[in-house]
């Protein structure tokens, strides 16, 4: 098992009700696997998993990526900084 930190931002944080959690995940868990795990453990976030962005160590990550040990993960909606078009 790998110990990882998972941060939530914006809508995801509101729905999770927390800014961050620590998780033990199987060492071969992919980003897609993480989405399924979060859907199961946080029913409030299930809907969000469809359009969520996931980062590993502050870089965008994709479904097939395997999560490395001690990773800093984050989940958030598409970004909306700057000016709104």
């Amino acid at each position: 098992m790998n110990r990882v930190k998972l941060l939530f931002f914006a809508t995801l944080r509101d729905r999770a009700g927390t800014k961050a959690v620590e998780l033990d995940v199987p060492s071969d868990l992919t980003v897609l696997g993480l989405k399924h795990k979060i859907s199961d453990e946080y029913p409030n976030l299930k809907e969000s998993m469809k359009s969520v962005l996931i980062t590993i160590n502050r870089e965008y990550a994709f479904d097939e990526t395997v999560i490395p040990p001690n990773a800093e993960l984050a989940m958030f909606p598409p970004v909306s900084g700057g000016s709104w078009r």
Partner: protein, 171 residues
């Protein structure tokens, strides 16, 4: 003739400046965005032109669903946002090597209408070398890949504003 000789002497010196001393500023801050100060920081002796973009909080929006905004609340995934601002600056320098200074600033926290919330500024020796395009590219990229979100608070309630862009691998 003297001029030409001087020109030859300048070039290598200027290349050194190109490589070593071009200022890049990126910051996520709760403080007011000071355009005068930022412009001074990215102006070199060789700089003759600056293109600056700022985004402000609109109190009244008429495009699409017209609405009023009381204030916006910005939040950022700060260490990643700083890394992505740095990446945007690097992308600009790759595409427009003539760009001298770059400043990218996002203000976060509770921001009221008419307040500048984001700034991108690029300087260059001359205005016809892509400095406008570089600033435009910068703000467009910022909106795509820098992890910053805003919650809009209006007379109708509050809601998160979500973007649409899905970054690709390596972005």
């Amino acid at each position: 003739m003297l001029r030409l000789l001087r020109a030859e002497n300048h070039r290598p010196r200027n290349d050194v400046i190109n490589i070593m001393n071009f200022p890049t500023i990126f910051s996520i801050t709760e403080d007011e965005i000071d355009l005068n100060d930022l412009l001074a920081k990215i102006t070199l002796t060789s700089t003759g032109a600056a293109a600056i973009f700022t985004g402000m909080v609109r109190g009244l929006t008429t495009r699409n669903e017209a609405h009023e905004t009381e204030y916006l609340e910005y939040e950022a995934y700060i260490p990643m946002a700083e890394a992505k601002m740095k990446q945007v600056a690097e992308e600009i320098r790759e595409r427009w090597p003539v760009v001298e200074g770059i400043a990218i600033v996002q203000r976060i926290g509770k921001l009221y209408p008419k307040t500048p919330t984001v700034l991108i500024a690029c300087t260059a020796a001359h205005r016809d070398t892509g400095v406008f395009e570089a600033a435009r590219y910068g703000i467009d990229r910022l909106k795509e890949i820098v992890p910053i979100w805003k919650k809009e608070v209006s007379p109708d309630g509050e809601f998160w504003v979500e973007g649409e862009y899905i970054p690709k691998a390596g972005e």
